[in-house]
């Protein structure tokens, strides 16, 4: 394991394509966190996040050779693969049920408690409120917020992951932030 821990991503992917277990483990441990969190923040569901993480690294295992460094960073590539799996899973879910309404959602309990208008907007509550608001965004807006604001990808990397133009990322992010700000202010008005 120690031999490959310092290897770059391209070297690791080359070794993975040959079935190198140490290289795979190093690569997995390097990127599983961001992939898992992305899937969780996009879906709001732990089980989807786990499945998507597994699916993403199965793709890596099967087709590590197909990664082309000229087309973007490894992180952008992984986010792109994860995004496709997440969207597919969300489409398979009941179309009218958001993660917030779903009793199986990780955040369902939090959502119920937030319905009390007299509750103080503590930091945790604000975070949960924002998490809810992000999850309630349409997927096209949600993914840019998750990638650019929560995972700190720059516009170009996000555009690579989302397979769209940088301008599209910029405009969607602008709109998404406006929606979130509006939602945040509305919640504050309710709380007062």
């Amino acid at each position: 394991m120690s031999n490959v821990q310092t290897n770059g991503d391209s070297d690791l992917l080359r070794l993975i394509s040959r079935g190198d277990e140490d290289a795979f483990l190093t690569f997995y441990r390097r990127y599983q966190g961001p992939v898992y969190r992305f899937a969780l923040q996009m879906s709001g569901k732990v089980e989807i996040a786990e499945e998507v993480t597994q699916d993403v690294f199965m793709v890596v295992m099967r087709s590590a050779r197909q990664y082309d460094a000229k087309r973007g960073s490894v992180a952008a590539y992984l986010y792109g693969v994860a995004r496709n799996f997440v969207l597919r899973r969300l489409e398979q879910e009941r179309p009218y049920l958001t993660a917030l309404d779903d009793p199986e959602s990780e955040y369902a309990g939090v959502a119920a408690s937030d319905q009390d208008p007299l509750a103080d907007l503590t930091r945790n509550e604000r975070v949960e409120g924002l998490r809810k608001a992000v999850l309630a965004l349409p997927p096209a807006y949600r993914e840019v917020v998750v990638l650019c604001d929560l995972h700190e990808l720059d516009y170009a990397e996000a555009a690579t992951a989302l397979e769209c133009a940088v301008g599209t990322v910029r405009s969607r992010l602008h709109r998404a932030r406006a929606l979130l700000t509006e939602k945040m202010r509305a919640e504050e008005r309710c709380a007062v």
Binding site: Y36, R126, L130, L150, L180
Partner: protein, 156 residues
């Protein structure tokens, strides 16, 4: 750069740092199991491929050597005759090649005309002078249903 409400920015930062979760160990375990399975399958496929290649090469060599009446067949067949039925009588005109007793009985036979180096006739027990050794002679080779040579008949 998109403008962002400072309070939204603060909230997003808090959200980003909140719950830096990781995939459970079970995911890693499942993936490792899958990787090992894939490696095992890949290794097996490699051995099958190598084994098939070796077997094919062995068959090709065996057929080449087996159908060759003697070392040094220099030209391809110029005529082919096929007999649907063959028995030991069909061997009457042919010199039986050495070490063919272990071969299965002929059910069908094929005669292939070839040019043999005269020197190869020594293998059939015929006397060959040194002067003639470099020449070639036309001969019929009797092949069984398995493609293995049973006998040789001199044409000239």
């Amino acid at each position: 750069m998109n403008e962002i409400d400072p309070r939204l920015l603060e909230g997003l930062r808090a959200l980003a740092s909140d719950g830096l979760r990781e995939a459970p160990v079970s995911v890693e375990t499942r993936l490792l199991g899958e990787l090992r399975k894939r490696r095992k399958v890949a290794r097996r496929n490699l051995w099958i491929a190598l084994g098939s290649g070796t077997l094919a090469a062995a068959i090709a060599i065996a057929m080449l050597l087996g159908s060759r009446p003697a070392p040094g067949v220099v030209t391809p067949a110029s005529a082919v005759q096929e007999s649907a039925q063959a028995d030991d009588d069909s061997m009457d005109d042919f010199y039986r090649l050495p070490d063919t007793d272990y071969l299965p009985p002929m059910e069908s036979a094929m005669v292939v005309r070839v040019q043999l180096p005269v020197s190869s006739l020594r293998l059939m027990g015929l006397p060959v002078s040194e002067e003639q050794a470099g020449d070639s002679v036309q001969a019929d080779v009797l092949l069984g249903q398995d493609g293995l040579a049973r006998g040789v008949r001199l044409v000239e």
